[in-house]
């Protein structure tokens, strides 16, 4: 099946800016998929979203929606003909219209009764009932306003739904609940969604495909699992959480590290990949008396309590080259203690200077 949306080499520079806001980005989105654009503020992810909506025009590249070229060269299909829905960061509800008028705004060529039933159905889908119809946006809470904005965008049955930082205006308690609700709604309608966020956790938990953007460039587009466990660069690795990189020597039996030998049947193909990458969760700690073959050993350097776990920085035993390593544990260790551990599924990587 052809992709519903294809971005080919999209680039845009704002006048007066010293670098490109969006730099040669190519992406493919399939029907029903949730794509998450992740990056720090100023990375260009919102610009990319606005280009897809037709609110900005790229300097280079083309956009293909359902097999039709909608943006190319100096020509573009104007936003009101694209049938793309968008939920804005600040919702952009029309303050002078009721909730019913807001949600019904995009419905064209429909009888009054048809309109009414679509409005009610869409509001119900987002968890709002009839009582809200005649209220005005300022009478609703932030979370309710967001539901109305979502209903308004979904009502005309758009080809694609764009969400710009959907969780940025919500407090942390609401955040997780709204994310789960939103996920359910999106999956229930089966709508293709592109979601911009700087919360990596939202991206990982909701998306089928995560695209990491940094300084206008697409660094990696992959499944959440792959982004987390096999990042293509130090930047991506760091963006999605703590990690450790330790040097190694490839020998017959596996990887020789400062903490001991990791047995593996795989051997690195290229000598370029000079580090072993892993997340703290991949490390398993053993009790002192537990007998494990090929156990690794390290000395505790420091421990920090972080609520649901301890972050422990380990150093190799004396006589080995220094190299800190971060693991998670459930007890506080004091500095100088020796910990025995193993690492599941390390990956040899080359992050350059990272």
């Amino acid at each position: 099946m052809p992709p519903i949306l294809e971005l080919r080499n999209i680039a845009k520079t704002y006048p007066g800016a010293d670098r490109k806001a969006v730099d040669a980005i190519s992406l493919v989105v399939h029907k029903g998929e949730i794509l998450s654009l992740v990056g720090e503020s100023g990375s260009g992810k919102t610009t990319l979203l606005r280009i897809i909506a037709g609110l900005e025009h790229p300097d280079e590249g083309s956009l293909i929606l359902s097999g039709e070229v909608i943006t190319e060269g100096k020509k573009a299909v104007p936003p009101h003909r694209r049938n793309i829905g968008m939920v804005f960061q600040d919702y952009a509800l029309f303050p002078h219209m009721t909730i019913a008028e807001n949600v019904g705004f995009g419905l064209k060529n429909k009888s009054a009764s048809e309109k009414k039933s679509i409005i009610l159905d869409t509001l119900a889908l987002t968890g709002l009932d009839e009582d809200y119809l005649s209220r005005y946006p300022h009478q609703l809470s932030g979370g309710q306003q967001q539901r109305v904005a979502l209903a308004r965008a979904l009502a005309p049955k758009p080809n694609i739904l764009l969400l710009d930082e959907p969780f940025s205006n919500l407090d942390t308690v609401l955040h997780d609940r709204i994310r789960e609700d939103l996920y359910k709604i999106l999956k229930a309608t089966g709508i293709t969604t592109i979601l911009v966020t700087h919360h990596t956790r939202d991206a990982l938990s909701m998306a089928d495909q995560v695209a990491v953007i940094h300084q206008g460039k697409l660094l990696q587009a992959d499944s959440p699992k792959a982004i987390y466990c096999s990042p293509s660069s130090g930047y991506v690795a760091n963006l999605f959480g703590k990690f450790s990189c330790i040097p190694y020597k490839a020998i017959q039996e596996g990887y020789q590290t400062p903490f001991g030998l990791i047995r593996t049947s795989f051997q690195p193909v290229s000598t370029q990949e000079n580090w072993l990458f892993f997340r703290p969760e991949q490390v398993k700690i053993y009790a002192e008396n537990q007998l494990v073959p090929d156990v690794l050993e390290g000395v505790v350097d420091s421990t920090v309590f972080l609520g649901d776990y301890f972050r422990i920085v380990l150093k190799p035993r004396q006589g080995h080259p220094p190299c800190p390593l971060i693991i998670h544990g459930d007890v506080a260790y004091s500095p100088g203690e020796i910990i025995r551990f193993s690492i599941q599924g390390v990956k040899a990587v080359n992050f350059g200077n990272a």
């Binding site: 070229v69 100096k74 003909r81 002078h96």
Partner: protein, 539 residues
């Protein structure tokens, strides 16, 4: 789905046409400057420029100094101290803004003349015998006095806003470091308000350059009187264009100075937190001193001259108020209404183009349209007259319209000139509205399938209703007050309230002129009340 060129839409065409129109007078002046000077100009040019330059500069410097003194001083007092009547004096101090300078001049001449109230009081109650006017105002210092008391509210408004909104914490920090209120004012508050004050003085200076009524009445030789003399008395369009061009240069230098003095320094502190503004309560005698000072300014700049006008009106109303005067009121209001609707509509077109066009430079290009406010009315008049009359002459040659002047005979030129001069007023009002409404609202409507025209009607216009009414009112009042443009460009025997007042005053019917003046001033008070309410709501 049909693709379109991203820069192509009806809005852009309309906006470009509008910009070309608004720029016409400037183009005229520039092209005329480049072409060779006329013989008359060669002969007299350098001499008259020298004398006009001297008077103009003295006026500018004097008015700048005194508006600074009056405006900043009163703004500091009302924004930093609590004293009896502060709440009322705070907005009474803005009132002189409603007084066009030339009407202020007429009132003062009346106040100070032999038969005037001050003279009579001194003569009858104190037995003083003074012949001639009490103080002769018909000279440069007199002009500086009149302009200063009518124009200081510009500085006052800007400075007050700056004092009230600038971070109170910084001033508190200065106080905690041991600075007295006076030292805090000179070392902290004043430097921080400098850009605002300079902006106010620049506006006041432009009003001085624009004025014709006062300088003409006082017999001062400024560039504006020079342009009038050259065009209306000598019929020398060429010389008037040359003078207008020099005046424009002067304005541009003024604008540049205002811009340059800001440099790349920042005077405002970026802390977004606003601490509730609080005022000091000074010792009792100081409190009363402040009340008296502010009241004195209000009396001199508004109370006394306004009283004089009312006295005149009471005395002469039965002679002046007839059907022909009623017609003038109607014509004046009709012209102002039409102009304000036209200007605000075109400002909406211009700013909506910025809103929907994908081009980022558009915003800066449309700013040009608001430049007209800085250009003196006489200059705009000359810059419009030359091409329009030229066009009419050309039309006469190529068409069989015998002896009929199409554009230069009616109100076309006048309304065109109002459009150029007051575009900025409508532009700023609408711009504020659009900025407040935000761009997302517009984007959201278009993504929901409405084209730019439908979006404007259903979403944007309803949301900026308040700004539209504010813009309409401000332009309306400005047109009612306008004198130099109207004097030059009005059709034969056509009068507005402003030209009628000017006409009567120059024809020794100064008391009768008060009737027209009073209506103009009362209209001008309307937006001041509104403005004050908005400012108060914001703080």
């Amino acid at each position: 789905m049909k693709k379109r060129y991203i820069w192509w839409n009806g809005w852009v065409i309309a906006a470009v046409l509008l910009l070309v129109m608004v720029c016409t007078p400037i183009f005229t002046l520039l092209t005329n400057l480049v072409t060779s000077p006329g013989e008359q100009w060669d002969l007299i040019g350098p001499k008259i420029v020298e004398s006009y330059f001297k008077d103009t500069m003295i006026l500018l410097v004097g008015v700048a100094f005194f508006t600074f003194l009056l405006g900043t001083g009163s703004a500091w007092i009302v924004s930093s101290y609590e004293f009896p009547g502060r709440k009322y004096l705070e907005w009474l101090l803005i009132l002189p803004m409603a007084f066009p300078s030339y009407m202020m001049a007429y009132s003062y001449i009346g106040l100070l003349e032999y038969t005037g109230p001050i003279h009579s009081f001194l003569r009858n109650n104190l037995g003083w015998e003074i012949t001639g006017p009490l103080v002769d105002l018909m000279n440069l210092p007199g002009g500086i006095f009149i302009f200063s008391i009518t124009l200081y509210p510009y500085v006052y408004l800007f400075a007050r806003t700056s004092f009230v909104t600038s971070s109170r914490e910084i001033q508190d920090a200065a106080a905690l470091l041991g600075a007295s209120p006076l030292r805090t004012f000179f070392t902290v508050a004043l430097p921080m308000a400098r850009p605002a004050i300079a902006g106010g003085i620049a506006l006041a200076s432009m009003e001085v350059l624009n004025d014709y009524g006062t300088v003409k009445y006082f017999g001062l030789n400024t560039f504006t009187t020079g342009i009038f003399r050259a065009w209306l008395t000598l019929g020398d369009l060429d010389s008037s264009i040359k003078l207008a061009a020099i005046l424009t240069l002067l304005v541009l230098i003024l604008l540049w100075l205002e811009y340059y003095q800001r440099g790349n320094k920042r005077w405002s502190s970026k802390s977004g937190r606003t601490v509730p503004h609080h005022r000091y309560l000074p010792a009792r005698p100081v409190r009363w001193l402040f009340s008296v000072l502010c009241l004195l300014i209000v009396l001199l700049a508004f109370g006394l001259p306004f009283g004089q006008l009312v006295y005149w009106v009471v005395k002469t109303a039965h002679k002046v108020l007839d059907t022909s005067f009623g017609m003038i009121v109607l014509k004046s209001f009709g012209l102002a209404s039409f102009s304000s609707v036209l200007i605000v509509s075109l400002a909406i077109v211009l700013l909506y183009t910025v809103r929907v066009s994908g081009m980022h430079g558009m915003r800066y290009v449309t700013r040009i349209a608001s430049l007209g406010y800085a250009i003196p009315g006489a200059v705009i008049a000359v810059g419009i007259m030359a091409p329009v009359i030229g066009f009419d002459k050309w039309l006469l040659k190529v068409t069989p319209l015998e002896g009929k002047l199409l554009l230069s005979s009616g109100l076309f030129m006048l309304i065109f000139a109002y459009l150029v001069r007051f575009m900025a007023v409508g532009y700023n009002a609408i711009d504020t509205g659009f900025q407040k409404a935000g761009k997302d609202i517009n984007d959201a409507a278009r993504l929901l399938g409405q084209n730019s025209w439908q979006t404007l009607w259903k979403v944007d216009l309803p949301l900026i209703k308040k700004s539209i009414s504010a813009g309409l009112l401000l332009v309306f009042v400005d047109v009612i007050k306008e004198l130099p443009l109207t004097l030059i460009l009005r059709p034969f025997n056509f009068h507005t309230l402003a030209t009628k007042a000017f006409d009567m005053a120059t024809n020794e019917q100064i008391a009768e002129s008060a009737n027209a003046s009073l209506i103009v001033i009362l209209t001008g008070i309307l937006p001041i009340i509104l403005l004050n309410r908005i400012i108060r709501k914001n703080h």
